[in-house]
Point group: C2
Chain length 240, copies 2
């Protein structure tokens, strides 16, 4: 029996760290949804960087850079982190450098795990299938908002927990996993309505960036699973 755990914030990661686990990093609104979209549209590699300084250095070396803070695209960047920015014209066969408020930091933190995968509703079923196939513990790391708990990442974690528990091949004694799946069951029948309560929805709305919410809550548009290899994300091979 494998175990499923959920960590609500990068700041809590040290208490959940499990070097043998597959760590699924999620930042539903919007980084992990954007990363999945980039791979759907044929990106070659995504290079996640923590700081804007690093992003600028890559830019100076000639890379295309997606960078934002608090939902606002940085001046030097080619584009921001809306999934709609990662069009085939921009990303196909490209290496893209990516720096966001919460998501890319979480990816680097998770790198102590056995494998780091990028999770979103867009690739939920593929992730669950891979987790079952791997017979390993799974830890969902929610990127949150500046280290605070957030609803939308928790719902994703809950959906994944719920699915994995139902396979009978996973169990949990993790209170965050239990809470997430209970919240998912409340939200499931009207996820967009539920996410309407979330602070991030209001942040995006304020900045006119809430056009992506419905898209980011769509299930299973792809079987692609982005995976961290060395310092960059590529498409997980041998699984689709």
């Amino acid at each position: 029996m494998s175990k499923i755990e959920v960590c609500f914030s990068p700041a809590l990661y040290p208490y959940f760290e499990n070097r043998e686990a597959i760590v699924v990093v999620t930042d539903v609104l919007r980084a992990s949804s954007a990363i999945c979209t980039a791979f759907m549209n044929g990106v070659e590699r995504i290079i996640p960087v923590r700081t804007l300084e690093e992003a600028k250095e890559w830019k100076a070396k000639g890379y295309k850079v997606a960078a934002e803070r608090d939902g606002i695209v940085k001046d030097f960047a080619d584009f921001g982190n809306s999934p709609f920015n990662f069009t085939p014209e921009r990303v196909k066969f490209q290496n893209i450098v990516y720096s966001t408020t919460n998501g890319t930091q979480a990816v680097q933190l998770a790198s102590s795990g056995y494998k780091v995968l990028i999770g979103a509703f867009l690739n939920l079923t593929a992730l669950c299938d891979y987790a079952v196939e791997s017979s390993r513990d799974v830890l969902v790391l929610c990127a949150g908002w500046k280290n605070k708990f957030n609803l939308e990442d928790t719902l994703f974690a809950g959906a994944m927990t719920d699915r994995l528990l139902k396979t009978g091949k996973f169990d949990t004694v993790c209170d965050s996993a239990i809470a997430s799946s209970d919240l998912w069951r409340i939200a499931e029948s009207d996820v967009i309505g539920y996410v309407d309560k979330a602070a991030q929805r209001h942040r995006l709305q304020k900045n006119g960036l809430d056009d992506v919410i419905e898209y980011c809550l769509t299930h299973d548009l792809t079987r692609i699973i982005p995976v961290l290899e060395n310092d960059y994300l590529i498409k997980l091979e041998g699984f689709e």
Copy 2:
């Protein structure tokens, strides 16, 4: 309009810190329930200490000491942190030194707030009445389990959030507060059944300490609110 926020772990406190807020520290199973019980049974002061070394120093000075780690009473202590230990015979008119796995650490952390109160189901209505009367922001700090999220503290936070929002004098944009109150509404009709899923319930059961769960989930046995003054807890005066 005042705001209600919920912090799921002492490790997240820096992201929620609000020097103008009333901070309600909760550790339902069992420290905050035990502290309320001690005041119900006439304790004069409770001196919360972080480390077992400090607890030993107080013991050497002649104080009665309640101390445990991971639910197990320490050898040098007079008793552990079951609410049932804080009998009138032991605590009436006494100053008791108290050190626990999670609860007392959270109390000291919260001391940057405007006022630090001890919250449990045992004094829930009194706390809500006081919060409304004070017209101040409220932050519920869940002691959690070794910095992890836990269900029972979250349910208390949810019950308090739910009550305060219903007064129309509080609102929230805090995702943790929203999640807590949603979880509370799932659990409300059968809280003991719900807490049966919690990791702490299983920890207590393993150590034969689960006899207190029903008691700790009982509402409103007292109007007493323990409050931090300097380095010790006393009964909040002028309110009952």
